[in-house]
Amino acid sequence: MISMRSICIFFLLACIIQLSACKKFVELPAPQEQLSSATVFADDKVATSAITGLYTQIMANNNSFLNGAISVYAGLSSDELTGTTLPPFIPAFATNSLTNDNPVVSSLWTNAYTYIYQTNAILDGLRRSDKVSKPVKDQLQGEALFVRALCYFYLVNLFGNVPLPLTTDYEVNATLPRVATDSIYNRIIPDLVSAENILSADYVVTSDFPADRVRPNKWAAAILLSRVYLYQRKWGSAESEAAEVIDAGIYSLDTVPNVFTKASKEAIWQLMPVSSTSNTSEGNCFIPATPATLPTYSLTAQLLKAFEPSDRRRSGWLGSWSSGGDTNYYPYKYKVREGAPPYAEYNLVFRLAEAYLIRSEARAWQNDLRRAQDDLDSIRSRAGLGKDSSTDQSSLLSAIAHENQVEFFAEWGHRWLDLKRTNRANAVLGSLSWKNWQPTDTLYPIPKEELSSNHNLVQNPGY
């Protein structure tokens, strides 16, 4: 029994030693099917998954923030689209009678901040990590800064002042109040400047997709930056950023039928679909299911009137549906409604035409009318239209605004944002009888549940 005794005592001692290691014992790594932040940013490959996961999420649902929703809902809010046979919370956009419990508004807000969190988490993870190689780190940081800036850009343009979380600390983020639009631009601009600096000029491609422009590069940051400068009325900066894109040498204006194809020569950044049943969200929701089906969204008479005769875009980018003498037109920039991979069309976020129109407008404001007109005419000639005939600054600016309307209709809310930034919304939309326009309608309501879960938030006027 002596041996038994010694075994037992030995065992007991072992247990006591174990007890002192208690603390270690109850510290567990993340479960196998999930990764902790530290592991995500421990090598180039997994870190890259964090950014592709962000794009997957953006593209996972049609009609969501950054995937079609802004084209549709901001289109309805402005004067380009109307909706038919829809649940009532969608026509509320067209009649500018949103309420604070509108589920679409809520999902725009929620999606934006979900993506912002992911960019913050990526930036945070990369900052802490010393295991991701410099080129990959730069590229991923640049992409995250760029996507975060893009999210904030649309948030301020849809909602006005918004909270500006820049970390992953939920305790801090949960109580942040809304921040003035200017402060947000003051964050967006340096972020885009550094994104432009660290992003590579070449597109990041994979062997499966060797020619795709589905990851943001230097010029994607530049075009967004030039747009931001334009919105900030910093004409010189807007012009030079746009010029950089135009002069990059890898983009050219494509023919009207080719603009929205996967291989578009003017694509600066496209989002690749991930759905197994559809390509782009716009294609899926604008194109009717069958030729006999009434289009869900129709173009307004105002927009149709805006097209000049012989505009190639009218014939190339509009679809029509007729029934008993009644004709409805719908956006037909994308041609594919349904379809499994491989995809024929990608979601085109930034394209070269915008750089021309930004530079044109920036030059016009700087009274460089001739060169402004050159840029405008580049777009017009691609549409098969003659040169612009404006003779003074204000008529040129009107012409540029008009060109924006017909070039970017039903695309990323360009019209809605333009009307607001140029202070024409009250005049243009207030004059439409079917709009229930009030000056406070330029901003969407802050979702009700956000106000209740963060008491530091204040509602926009009019809601």
């Binding site: 006591i16 109850v26 990764l35 902790s36 995500v40 592709t52 901040y113 499966d208 956000e450 938030l457």
Partner: protein, 1080 residues
């Protein structure tokens, strides 16, 4: 001593006429004087005369002498003994020399050693047992290994051995003997051993609160899930069955809902901690089901169905702080200890039991017949102003409106069969005991087809002591394999198919799905959608102990549990009406856990008290590995089980781990079995909390005063045989919130699609390291009384549990990136208070006939005491301060408007809750010779959800969709203006005013109806054959029995079973069984 005197006197009276002789010779070595004297008498013929006191200081004699005269002999013999002698004729008178003193006597009187070891029937030592020498000379207590040693200068003694909880024994012992003393357990329930955390005590001496359900209670019930056997049996423990399918879940809560929860309106299960033979049951009481749907419903499959009730010795439920605190963090919601059977010393005993039974679904949901159905539909269409045509009422136009099929009878009306076999072999000797048992249980179900549950179990227990009883080893193993075969959907919902639905088979014998162009959901298709699950469960525990010294022992237990569940559900082509492909789903859910618990024990008996100290540690680790695979696109049923034959496969898996470590200590001091205090404390660490937050300190104090052991009470209140006041207070913790909630984790996005051919990740959790233990403070007081020699035992308990630092999942603003819920400690407090009263009365006890009654009642109250910031939280709509957690805010129902025939309601307000007002059980047991009758009723007074709420939410009366039949209770509807009806007018039209008014009913306080019930839960009649008959059968024991479960229910609740409260789920089964038990 008395005996010696008599012998001596008898000797003195002897008359010996033998003559004097000079040639005497003797040789003694350590011979008692009395023997020496008797030797002399025999040889000399002289007789000694003396008083026995002369032996007071006698010493054994060692003397060798030859050829000596009597006087010479006496001189040399008696001088040293301090005795004088005088010879007169043939008699020698002995007297004590008055000058002689014992002082100079060098050697003490000879002492005899009496040794023994006291054990229970299992051979386990009883430490602290009293061994008292009859006559009151001396008493000793047994050591920790049960041994005792007495030294007395007497040759023989009668020893009285007593130990609390055991029957006192008297044994005769001779000096130098070493005897084992086995004590039998006392029949008084107060003295039954109860298992407390890491030890045992008796109900009498326990300072904590626990409820016990014994193997006898369990064995009387024809059930396959041990949790089923607990229903109504234990005060403070509410057990509710989910439905009547074999393998279904049981909800079990000890003293109410204490946690607020994981989402508004969803209360966490608050499961107690389950420990089976010292091993925490890895899956807890969580569902094993991974697959999306099965007939078992939302609550899924019970892991406890893998246990065999026949292997269980007893189930104990620890409730108060004193009893549960030693389990620390895991004990906040109570602890359920399941102990399996052990062998008893003796020759090998075989025991076999077999029973078989029939069961049918309990239900008072009667459905409309075709005539009533057609009338309902016609009336609904008329109310809506709609024509009875193909568009509005296709089933009335296209199908025969006189045909009637009783789908209830067809789909859930079968008799289910049960067969159960259990056999065991047990035995052993004082050092080693064992039991080995095997079981088989099969039960089918009430739906047609080859469905049911089959279970095979093996149980093994081995106990061994070394010869010196210092080393002890116990090995327990339980293994079971359970096969559950069901459909993927509870067929009860299909019983609501229109009673005039077309024939189920077409004329050529195929399953019919259409008549006159109108298809219908033939339930036979549904019956082809099969679910099957296999559960393999292994629980093993090894316990090693070593007695280092009489006071100290060290021991450790090593436990292991592995439960593996695999499931498959198929939707073959034969179950598809429209789809041309088949699909299947595969789930696995494996749990593995181990636990190591080293302990040191110290026992001592200072003065009149008994002190025991325990110091120990726990290391526990649990892994769960779950996966779910959906395979679809099969074009043939032949390959439906082959995932690789599918065209589309989606999969997900989940692999959480849990670790738990603790150090604990307990001190118990018992002074004269009158005053007992029990203190415990522990430090717990759980992996569910973030860095720096893992550990928490918990502790409890309990005290008991057995006032009936006080002399004044004993003298004055003779009728009071037992009286105890006890109280406890303590703090326990809860970490039942799910794993990894503090960790920021990323999960694959590949199920949403792949971007650029690169797998994606998304953040799935926030870094949230700041929450920690939810804390329950428990306070309890109890009075326990035994009257009339404990023939009436009464216990009243009052308790208050307050759970604070609530772990609540609350909604974050979306700007954090997570609009989902994050867990945080809130200073909200939930209070559970209540009374628990139990009575045990031996009404009649005689040799032939006995009648015992047990009655328990629990009166629980649940209340949200505080919730700072409730109004602004996402819980504002579901909780109200001062009300129960289950209380609802609803509209106030105003009945049916006699003018319009529509439901009316007004404003939202707090309106009631589903907590039971009281519940309990009443049991009467009768025995007459070998005959035993046991009747157990359980009862509950409660509000239940009106079964019509589910009916109206699912499919309001008058509407035609798939399963549009209705319970007969919908006949109480409004028909014409002026009617005062219970229910509003029928409507067939989802756009009608009546349709819109439904929420006035379903969202109002009309959801509450009286759901009270009294149920004859168990009736058991058995007969054990008497000795004479047994001889004929060469059996030691032969018993036959009849059992019934859920035989009778008295309830005002109509339309569903008052326990499951769901008209769309299969009600619990009523079972009858008959069986035989034989011990050859």
């Amino acid at each position: 001593m008395k005996l010696t005197t008599i012998l001596l006197v008898a000797t003195c009276l002897q008359v010996n006429l033998k003559g004097f002789s000079q040639d005497l010779g003797f040789s003694w070595k350590n011979v008692p004087l009395i023997k020496v004297l008797s030797d002399i008498e025999k040889k000399s013929g002289y007789v000694f005369f003396y008083d026995y006191i002369i032996f007071e200081h006698d010493r054994p004699v060692t003397l060798e002498i030859k050829n000596v005269s009597l006087r010479g002999l006496l001189d040399s013999l008696l001088k040293s003994q301090g005795l004088n002698y005088k010879i007169a004729e043939q008699t020698i008178f002995l007297t004590r020399n008055p000058l002689w003193t014992a002082h100079p006597v060098p050697s003490p009187p000879p002492e005899m050693t009496f040794k023994g070891r006291v054990t229970n029937e299992k051979g386990e030592p009883l430490a602290g047992a009293t061994a008292l020498v009859k006559g009151g000379i001396k008493a000793v207590r047994t050591e920790a290994d049960g041994s005792f040693e007495l030294k007395l200068a007497v040759p023989n003694i009668v020893l009285e051995v007593s130990y609390t909880g055991f029957i006192t024994r008297q044994i005769r012992m001779s000096g130098g003997q070493s005897l084992p003393v086995i004590l039998a357990i006392h029949v008084n329930p107060l003295d039954e051993t109860v298992v407390i955390a890491y030890g045992t005590t008796t109900k009498r001496l326990n300072t904590g609160d626990l409820a016990t359900v014994t193997s006898k209670d369990i064995g009387q019930q024809p059930v396959s899930n041990p949790l089923a056997a607990l229903e109504g049996r234990a005060p403070g423990v509410l057990v509710t069955q989910a439905n009547g399918f074999p393998g279904s879940a049981f909800k079990i809560q000890v003293r109410g809902q204490s946690s607020i929860g994981s989402a508004p309106g969803i209360l966490p299960p608050d499961n107690p901690l389950f420990i089976i033979d010292g091993v925490p049951f890895a899956p807890d009481n969580n569902s094993l089901q991974i697959i999306a749907t099965s007939a078992l419903g939302l609550q899924g499959r019970s892991p406890f169905n893998s246990l065999n009730p026949g292997d269980i010795e007893k189930i104990e439920i620890l409730k108060d702080a004193d009893a549960t605190a030693i389990y620390g963090s895991r004990g906040a919601n109570g602890v359920v200890l399941i102990t399996t059977r052990t062998g008893k010393p003796g020759k090998i005993k075989f025991d076999a039991q077999i029973w078989s039974g029939v069961s049918s679904a309990l239900s008072n949901t009667r459905l409309l017949n075709t005539k009533q159905y057609v009338t309902m539909r016609e009336e609904a269409l008329r109310n809506d102003g709609l024509l009875i045509d193909e568009a509005n009422a296709p089933e009335l136009v296209l199908w025969d409106t006189t045909r009637y099929t009783d789908f209830k009878k067809l789909l859930t009306g079968n008799a289910a069969h049960q067969t159960d076999v259990h056999a065991s072999a047990s035995g052993g000797n004082a050092n080693t005991t064992f039991i080995l048992s095997g079981g088989y249980h099969y039960e089918s179900t009430v739906i047609p087809g080859d469905f049911g549950d089959k279970k095979e179990t093996v149980h093994f227990n081995f106990n061994h002591y070394s010869d010196d009883h210092k080393f002890k080893m116990t090995l327990t193993a339980l293994y079971s394999t359970d096969h559950n075969k069901l459909v993927t959907q509870d067929m009860t919902i299909n019983t609501f198919l229109n009673p005039n639905a077309p024939k189920l088979y077409d004329p050529s014998g195929n399953i019919n799905y259409i008549e006159n162009g109108l298809p219908f959901a033939n339930p036979l298709f549904q019956l082809n959608r099969k679910y099957s699950a296999t559960t393999d469960n292994l629980i093993g525990n090894l316990r090693l102990g070593y007695q280092v010294s009489p006071n100290f022992s060290i021991l450790s237990s090593f436990g292991y549990n592995s439960l593996q569940s695999s499931e498959v559900a198929i939707k073959p082509l034969s179950s598809q009406i429209y789809s041309t492909t088949a699909s299947s789903e595969f789930g696995t859910n494996d749990f593995k856990g181990w636990i190591i618990e080293p302990q040191i024990e110290y026992h001592s008996s200072p003065g009149k008290g008994k002190l025991s100290l325990l110091l120990g540690g726990t290391f526990q680790s649990q892994n769960n590995n779950a996966s779910d695979i959906n395979a679809s696109g099969f074009t043939s049923d032949a390959l439906i089980y082959s995932i690789s034959a599918a065209t589309t496969v989606t999969a997900s898996n989940y692999n959480p781990q849990y670790r738990y470590a603790a150090i604990f200590g307990r001190m118990n001091y018992d002074l004269s079995d009158k005053y007992i205090i029990n203190l415990s404390g522990r430090r717990d660490g759980s992996s569910r909390f973030g860095p720096g937050r893992q550990f928490g300190n918990f502790g409890a104090a309990g005290g008991a005063w057995l006032f009936s052991n006080e002399k004044p009470v004993k003298d004055k209140f003779k009728f009071l045989s037992y009286g105890k006041l006890r109280a406890s207070y303590g703090i326990t913790g809860n970490d039942q919130i799910g794993d990894y909630l503090f960790l920021d984790t990323w999960t694959s996005t590949d199920n949403q699609g792949v971007y650029q051919g690169i797998s994606g990740l998304r953040p799935t959790r926030l870094y949230n390291p700041d929450f920690n233990w939810e804390v329950t403070k428990k306070i309890e007081g109890a009075l326990e009384l035994g009257l009339n020699k404990d023939k009436l035992l009464f216990t009243a308990v009052v308790y208050r549990h307050r759970t604070g630092n609530q772990l609540i999942a609350y909604k974050l603003p979306a700007q954090t990136g997570f609009s989902s819920l994050a867990t945080k400690n809130f200073p909200a407090v939930v209070q559970n208070t209540g009374w628990e009263i139990s009575l045990l009365s031996k009404n009649i006890v005689s040799d032939k006939f006995s009648w015992t009654t047990t009655f328990t009642i629990t009166l629980p109250r649940n209340k949200l005491l505080a919730f700072p910031g409730l109004e602004s939280s996402s819980y504002s709509g579901t909780l109200t301060i001062g009300k129960s957690l289950t209380s609802k805010r609803t509209l106030h129902y105003l009945g049916v408007d006699p003018a319009t025939g529509l439901f009316r309601a007004e404003d939202y307000r707090p309106s009631g809750n589903y907590d039971p007002d009281y519940y309990g059980g009443l049991r009467n047991s009768f025995t007459y010779k070998g005959l035993e009758l046991d009747l157990f009723f359980d009862y509950r007074r409660q509000k239940a959800q009106n079964p019509l709420i589910l009916i109206y939410n699912n499919n309001p009366p008058g509407v035609y969709i798939g399963n549009s039949n209705q319970p007969v209770s919908v006949l109480a509807r409004w028909q014409k203006p002026g009617d005062k009806a219970d229910l509003q007018q029928y409507s067939s039209n989802p756009g009608s005013a009546a349709y819109n008014a439904i929420s006035n009913f379903t969202s109002s306080d009309a959801i509450f109806v009286d759901g009270s019930f009294i149920r004859l839960r168990t009736a058991s009649l058995s007969y054990s054959f008497q000795k004479n008959t047994l001889k004929k059968f060469h059996a030691e024991r032969l018993r036959i029995f009849l059992q019934g479960q859920n035989l009778l229910t008295i309830s005002p609740y109509k339309g569903a079973d008052p326990e499951t409260q769901n008209p769309l789920a299969l009600a619990p089964l009523r079972a009858f069984a008959a069986g035989i038990q034989i011990t050859p």
